[in-house]
């Protein structure tokens, strides 16, 4: 392969010559396969690694092939290990891991590493760029490695890795973190995409590198914490914590209009957040009133509150507004194109891949969990907004953009329309599809932003018209971009299809959309056509046709750093597209739980479906993790949870008698 590299400038169709170095490489690979096969149950990961490494275009050497092969091998290992039913083969290890992990501080460690790292970075010399980069990457990989044990546990319906420590006893504020099947993949998406974006950014960010590393690590800690937090106060702390680094990233390293965009981003999000803070305080206060004056911010405690309609709709509105701005949904989406356009590439990637999911996740966890009746009342209407204002309107707006990053931003509005539609529809498939689509959007839109960053670095323009015929000078880049495009428009076999398909079929099967489930499903399906229109428009204008500008004719194809950064996302597109069951099997039961809880609350109350009467508490539920002991979280069986529901229902009339 070394000599292949040397002869890269030779004629294209020169036949493959096999020299000693190639022979050596083959032998070394064979030995490596043999050794690795001993350690792993099967040779699949190794074979995958070797094949993927061989697929790398010949312009690259082993410095590129190595990391990409490692990624491929690890992903293959992930598939083999996570295959539904695979855990049955090794029940002992899985159970042990679960037991060991449940009582531990796994989640705390995952948040603490980047957080402490961010603080540590502050004490490092500003000039030592290489050290800063190495430290940041190491910390991010450490977070990734620490997050891997989460995969060992079969999520089921329950919460895992529960850690509940009293923080401020007087206010009932806990440090309560846990994950379930819903947050699991979002957490993994975060720890997966952070190193990718960070690595890519090191190629372009050279000014204020120390601040950049600090912001990245703080952002990671904030995002992870927000996914972990099950205490509303803690959630709010992390929620705001991630706002600041992103604000700085756009405002300092952004494009020419960065200040306007950063301020707009901050004000929009902060407006919603403050309303949410008010609602959080109110709900804790309401809890205190029915709990003898002791407030609580704990999610499971607050979930037990029965709120009458006039209280619930306002609290729901405050929470939902905060989340909807973050998603963003029509009509509060206009901060997103501005923020994406001006943000540096890594900022756009993280914003699209993870931060927007905070809104959808928050709606699913908090708005729907704490205020199910209000969510049910307004869900059908909001589904209409998600389809018309998100899927259709977002796509139409995207089509008319002349700025590539703005276009991708509007496509995010459209894609998150699917996610929100799935949440509003709240059938088993639509919920699972939604959660998977959150991850999908992170992968494919993240990849699109990352790839666009490549040509942006070369041409420093975002206008579509400035490009044209790029497929000739940049063939590998064109292939990757087309792959990301196809994932984005939901071609079957890629990840986008799975999410969209499940959301659309689930929407049609939904009972929560009134008479409109059919229309919403059709509207969502129309989005499939519109998505193809705008994305293919970009591909055609950027890559095909004659080269219209001579500066484009000499563009360098994707380089080693960029290729290594994009490779894991490209692989994930197909991993999710072909083996979605790995992901769905973890999501499935948690989605069923959300649906059962929701329907349980709705069914609990008669016709107006809201609880009427003074605010009160229901009995605790089965999935609620118990006190912060070492006791492993017991996964309740199906009958038990049904029983619990029956009890809860019986409790209502008895609660406030004559």
């Amino acid at each position: 392969m070394q000599s292949a590299e040397h002869s890269s400038h030779a004629k294209h169709d020169a036949p493959l010559t096999i020299g000693p170095s190639q022979l050596g490489a083959v032998v070394a690979a064979a030995v490596a396969i043999a050794i690795a096969a001993r350690f792993f149950d099967s040779g699949v990961p190794v074979v995958a690694a070797v094949i993927i490494a061989a697929l790398v275009p010949k312009a690259h050497g082993w410095d590129v092939r190595g990391p990409i092969a490692a990624m491929a091998g690890l992903l293959a290992l992930f598939i083999v290990r996570m295959w539904p039913g695979a855990e049955a083969a090794a029940p002992a290890t899985t159970a042990n891991a679960a037991n060991a992990a449940v009582g531990g501080h796994t989640l705390t460690w995952i948040v603490a590493v980047p957080l402490a790292g961010a603080l540590g970075i502050l004490f490092m010399p500003r000039q030592a760029h290489a050290t800063l980069r190495a430290a940041t990457m190491t910390l991010m990989f450490a977070a990734l490695v620490l997050a891997l044990p989460l995969l060992h546990v079969s999520m089921g319906r329950g919460y895992h890795f529960n850690e509940d420590v009293m923080w401020m006893p007087r206010f009932g504020i806990h440090y309560h973190v846990a994950i379930d099947g819903i947050s699991l993949w979002l957490v993994l998406l975060t720890v997966f995409i952070m190193p990718v974006a960070t690595y890519a950014s090191f190629g372009t960010i050279h000014t204020r590198l120390k601040d950049w590393c600090f912001a990245l690590l703080l952002l990671e800690a904030g995002m992870l914490g927000a996914f972990f937090a099950l205490d509303l106060f803690l959630f709010y702390v992390f929620w705001e914590l991630m706002l600041i680094p992103m604000y700085i990233m756009i405002g300092v390293w952004g494009g020419s209009g960065r200040i306007y965009s950063a301020v707009k981003f901050f004000l929009y999000t902060f407006f919603g957040s403050v309303l949410m803070l008010g609602a959080i305080l109110y709900i804790a206060y309401a809890y205190a009133r029915v709990n003898g004056g002791q407030p609580s911010f704990d999610y499971f405690e607050l979930e037990r509150l029965m709120l009458p309609r006039h209280v619930q709709i306002w609290l729901w509105a405050a929470f939902t507004l905060a989340f909807v701005i973050k998603v963003p949904m029509f009509p509060v989406h206009t901060w997103l194109p501005d923020a994406h356009t001006e943000a540096p590439t890594a900022g756009s990637v993280l914003l699209a891949a993870v931060m927007l999911k905070m809104g959808t996740y928050g709606y699913l966890r908090f708005s729907m969990g704490l205020f199910p009746e209000a969510s049910a009342e307004f869900g059908a209407n909001l589904a209409g907004v998600a389809v018309l204002g998100g899927i259709v309107y977002g796509a139409l707006c995207a089509w008319k953009q002349t700025d590539v990053k703005r276009l991708i931003a509007y496509s995010s509005v459209a894609h998150l329309g699917y996610v929100m539609l799935g949440l509003f529809a709240l059938s088993q498939a639509s919920l699972e599809g939604s959660i998977l689509q959150m991850v999908n959007h992170g992968v494919s839109t993240g990849m699109l932003f990352l790839l666009f960053g490549v040509v942006y670095d070369r041409r420093h323009t975002r206008q579509i018209d400035e490009f044209g015929g790029l497929a000739k000078p940049m063939p590998v880049y064109a292939v990757l971009f087309v792959v990301a495009t196809l994932a984005s428009i939901g071609l079957p076999g890629t990840n986008g299809f799975i999410g969209e398909f499940m959301v659309i079929t689930g929407t049609f099967a939904s009972h929560n959309l009134g008479h409109f489930n059919g229309v919403q499903a059709v509207g969502a399906a129309v989005g499939v056509i519109l998505g193809a229109i705008y994305m293919l428009m970009v591909v055609q204008k950027m890559f095909f046709g004659p080269i219209t500008r001579k500066e484009n004719a000499v563009l360098q194809d994707i380089n080693a750093r960029e290729l290594v950064a994009v490779a894991p996302l490209a692989m994930m597109i197909f991993v999710i597209g072909l083996f979605p069951n790995i992901f769905l099997s973890q999501i499935k039961d948690a989605a069923a739980r959300v649906q059962n809880d929701f329907d349980g609350r709705i069914m609990m109350n008669p016709a107006p479906r809201y609880y009427e009467g003074p605010i009160r508490l229901t009995s605790p539920r089965m999935e609620q993790p118990r006190a912060p002991t070492v006791e492993p979280t017991v996964e309740p069986s199906a009958e038990r949870s049904v029983e619990a529901q029956a009890q809860a229902q019986a409790a209502v009339p008895a609660g406030e008698g004559h």
């Binding site: 294209h12 169709d13 020169a14 036949p15 493959l16 697929l55 010949k58 707009k264 009133r289 029509f330 989406h333 206009t334 309107y393 139409l396 089509w399 008319k400 953009q401 088993q428 498939a429 000739k472 196809l486 071609l491 079957p492 076999g493 299809f497 799975i498 398909f501 499940m502 079929t505 929407t507 049609f508 099967a509 009134g514 008479h515 409109f516 059919g518 399906a525 129309v526 499939v528 056509i529 293919l536 428009m537 055609q540 095909f544 046709g545 004659p546 072909l578 979605p580 069951n581 109350n605 008669p606 609880y611 009467g613 003074p614 209502v652 009339p653 609660g655 406030e656 008698g657 004559h658």
Partner: protein, 837 residues
């Protein structure tokens, strides 16, 4: 054979599918490094092995069929669990697996795809020689074969959709293969988008099927299909008012007294049909196929004639048991097919580009297939798919051979494909001429060629067959009127099809005569004195566009090498003889193909497809020869007219006609201006909608939410800034006003109280504190203070038994200035939940 691979785990499918995929990978990734000859080897091996495995699988299938006495046999292979979704009335889980199966229907399709595919690959290895994207071309082509095989072998609809979109993607990539020219890329995009509109239909069909039948695999859909037709309201699809809701709003007059509903079978059928019209280029989505000819000719032969475009017909055959449940949908399919056949045939009459004529003829022939399956003659429609694959692939490859020879001198693609520049080619391209003639004979229905049998079967069945709802006899529908297609539809469809067949004969013969007969008009044939140096290095180079003088003498056109002619001969042989597989007119006692496919369609057609005239089999049988006269007459008329016009009269009548009716001629040349119509209506509508959205987003949404709020804040700031102007007098005045306000607040007592539920039916009323306040309570509600003097106690506790009414508590507050304020507070128990009453 079945013992090696059991029927329920037929892993040989992995080989059939895997080889083309491997070929695509190897050629796509290492193609440039391997060199052209290795690419050729890889691509031919991939498709060849796939074909061999397909043959083995087919033999195993045949064995299984004979063992099980002509039952519907499936060889299945479940690769892995893919995903799942929710469906059915009670929202059960529908698993969707990566599962493939081979049965009688797709077994034949599989052989056609791999077999014809192999021949076209062989042809293309020479045709594309020297192209810069040689490896890329074969990577795409192998990927296409893989996708096509996924499409036909898939055992459930979502997996079929993978192949469905996969072939669309390959088609997109191959149409735009020479992407450096903008029109090619645009044609690719057009094809993809038209197909996406169809995919929208397919997606809708999928969620409808998932919901109504509770399954998405073929067996499951078949089992649940009966629930697609049910007279009950909840089982029907409510079109208007949407979803069956009742509105009481302002627009309530818009809703009819009786809701407009269609059966789920009709909704599913029409949605599927939309998907099929997209892929199979039927009205209204046929517009992409003629443009798709921008791709290399082998692509046109493989994708846009023989295989991909027949996917729609395949899907209708595959889900025949769903379609027959809705006679309305069946009628629509037949009408769409007949009108497409007619429309495309009229356009083909006047086109001058050899590939365009063939493209419209493909659209037209696909219309025949739709007509066939639309009247319930699934086997006849599928038989036409089968024969069409041979003769149309042959025609396209011949066209490629002709273009190849023209390209030696004329490097402009459009000119090299113009039949007005050809003529007399039979002298120089004898093999191409012969095979073209045979394939033309087949397509125009020359008696006893394959096309004759398949087309006549369709014409005949269009006249005599009638589709009725198979559920009609069910007691459920005693009081429910089911749709029945009108009786006159059969003769009308027959007439339209005969007209289309006559036109087919005319335009195909026109094409044949203009290309191969008469005098050569491309360039002057002469001594090659000047040619030697010109031809150096630019043999068929697509990038070499130097304009040469075509009047100077040059070599005559040359016949193609054997790699290109062997596929032509094989395909021509099949075009000629494939008819024996299903000859009509009682030539064989039993039609082999009908018999082979019978188990697949039996369940669908039983009770659903009957003969007209009161299901009179004898009547239908008697008509067979009579109706065949229409087809033969069409052939004779079309061929004769073309011979008279273009051979006997050397094209003069045609020129005269064109001169006499310039408007009509131009309209046909412009393809009825359907593209322009679409541009002016639906496309410009969506476009202006998008413009409006973008403008709205910029001005209204962003304007109100971002700029207006910013403006309000800024305006408030401006107003408040007026007070902070640094003038001491102003500050002093503000202070006076402020102090006066505060003095007023403290001078007046405030009687505010809150009620708190203290549990145990106790309620505490507490008054707001204030400096120097004294309180006097009236806790028993008698209207008089409980004690005469004001006291310090700022709260009072009440006990309220359940069921007791509200108590009015009086509160008097006196402040240090001796001013008193009174307030009465009503304390009531909160209402009990409704459920406990």
């Amino acid at each position: 054979m079945l013992s090696l691979f059991p029927a329920n785990d037929y892993a040989l499918i992995a080989v059939i599918l895997g080889m083309p995929l491997l070929g695509a990978f190897v050629n796509g990734i290492w193609g440039k490094r391997l060199g052209d000859s290795a690419v050729k080897l890889m691509t031919l091996t991939a498709v060849g092995v796939s074909f061999a495995a397909a043959v083995v699988a087919f033999i195993a299938l045949a064995q299984g069929v004979s063992e099980q006495n002509d039952a519907h046999v499936r060889l299945t292979w479940n690769a892995w669990e893919w995903m799942h979704t929710t469906g059915g009335r009670d929202g059960q889980n529908i698993p969707i697996d990566v599962k493939f199966s081979i049965d009688q229907l797709n077994g034949i399709m599989m052989l056609v795809v791999t077999g014809v595919g192999f021949l076209i690959h062989l042809y293309a290895t020479t045709y594309m020689a020297g192209d810069k994207g040689y490896a890329r071309f074969f990577a795409y082509l192998n990927l296409f074969i893989f996708s096509m095989l996924v499409l036909i072998l898939a055992d459930n609809l979502p997996l079929l959709f993978v192949g469905w979109e996969g072939v669309g993607l390959c088609s997109y990539l191959l149409i735009g293969f020479w992407y450096e020219s903008a029109p090619n890329a645009a044609a690719g995009k057009k094809a993809f988008l038209a197909n996406r509109v169809g995919d929208f239909g397919l997606l809708c069909a999928m969620f409808l099927l998932a919901h109504y039948t509770g399954a998405l695999d073929w067996n499951g859909i078949a089992n649940g299909a009966s629930s697609l037709v049910h007279p009950g309201e909840p089982w029907r699809v409510h079109v208007w008012p949407i979803g069956g809701g009742q509105y009481t709003g302002v627009l309530h007059f818009l809703q009819p007294l009786k809701p407009f509903t269609v059966s789920a079978a009709t909704a599913v059928g029409l949605a599927l049909l939309l998907g099929c019209t997209g892929k199979s280029a039927q009205i209204p989505l046929y517009i992409w196929l003629p443009d798709a000819m921008a791709g290399p000719t082998p692509v046109s032969a493989l994708i846009h004639a023989a295989t991909m475009v027949t996917a729609g017909v395949y899907l209708i055959c595959r889900l025949s048991f769903v379609f027959v449940l809705s006679p309305f949908t069946m009628m629509v399919i037949a009408i769409v097919g007949a009108s497409t056949a007619l429309l495309a045939a009229t356009i083909a009459l006047v086109q001058n580009d050899i590939k365009k004529v063939l493209a419209y003829s493909t659209v037209s022939q696909l219309g025949f297939m739709f007509l066939g399956v639309g009247v319930g003659a699934f086997a006849a429609g599928f038989f036409h798919v089968f024969t069409h694959a041979f003769f149309k692939a042959c025609l396209f490859l011949c066209a490629g051979s002709v273009i190849h020879s023209m390209h030696a001198r004329i490097h402009d693609d459009d000119k090299a494909q113009d039949i007005r520049r050809m003529g007399g080619l039979r002298k120089w391209l004898p093999l191409t001429h012969g095979t073209f003639a045979v394939a033309t004979a087949a397509i125009i229905g020359f008696p006893f060629t394959s096309g004759f049998f398949s087309k006549d079967e369709i014409l005949y069945r269009a006249y005599v067959d009638r589709t009725i709802n198979p559920m009609a006899s069910s007691p459920l529908f005693k009081h429910f009127k089911l749709y029945e297609p009108p009786t006159w539809i059969g003769p009308v469809l027959y007439t339209a099809a005969v007209l289309a067949a006559a036109m087919t004969a005319f335009y195909m013969c026109r094409l044949y005569f203009l290309t191969f007969w008469g005098d050569f008009k491309g360039w002057t044939i002469g001594r090659p004195s000047l040619i030697a140096k010109q031809e150096l290095g630019d043999e068929h180079g697509h990038d070499d566009h130097h304009h040469e003088d075509l009047t100077s003498p040059g070599y005559p056109p040359h016949e193609s090498p054997w790699q290109m002619t062997v596929p032509l001969i094989v395909l021509a042989a099949f075009s000629l003889f494939a008819g024996v597989l299903n000859p009509g007119f009682g030539i064989l006692k039993e039609k082999p193909l009908d018999h082979w496919l019978e188990p697949v369609f039996k369940a669908a057609t039983e009770g659903a497809v009957v003969f007209g005239h009161g299901n009179d089999a004898e009547w239908a049988e008697h008509l067979e020869w009579t109706l065949a006269l229409g087809g033969i007459g069409a052939f004779l008329f079309g061929t004769g007219l073309a011979y008279w016009m273009y051979v006997a009269q050397k094209g003069k009548p045609a020129a005269r006609l064109a001169a006499e009716f310039p408007g009509a001629h131009q309209l046909l040349l412009d393809k009825w201006r359907i593209d322009e119509l679409y541009d002016a209506t639906i496309i410009s509508m969506v476009d202006s909608l998008a413009d409006t959205s973008a403008a709205l987003d910029k001005t209204v949404i962003d304007g109100i939410l971002a700029r207006l709020t910013a403006l309000i804040v800024a305006a408030s700031g401006t107003i408040l800034r007026a007070f902070q102007n640094g003038v001491v007098h102003m500050y002093a005045a503000m202070m006076v006003v402020g102090i006066a306000g505060m003095a007023w607040f403290f001078a007046v007592p405030h009687a505010n109280a809150t009620v708190v539920d203290a549990g145990n039916d106790d309620y505490v009323v507490s008054a707001a504190p204030g400096v120097g306040y004294g309180y006097r309570w009236d806790a028993d509600g008698d209207g008089l203070p409980d004690q005469p003097d004001f006291a310090e106690a700022s709260s009072v506790k009440l006990h309220l038994e359940p069921g007791k009414g509200p108590i009015t508590v009086g509160l008097e507050v006196r402040n240090a200035f001796g001013l008193v304020k009174r307030k009465s507070i009503s304390v009531a128990r909160p209402q009990a939940p409704i459920s406990s009453l």
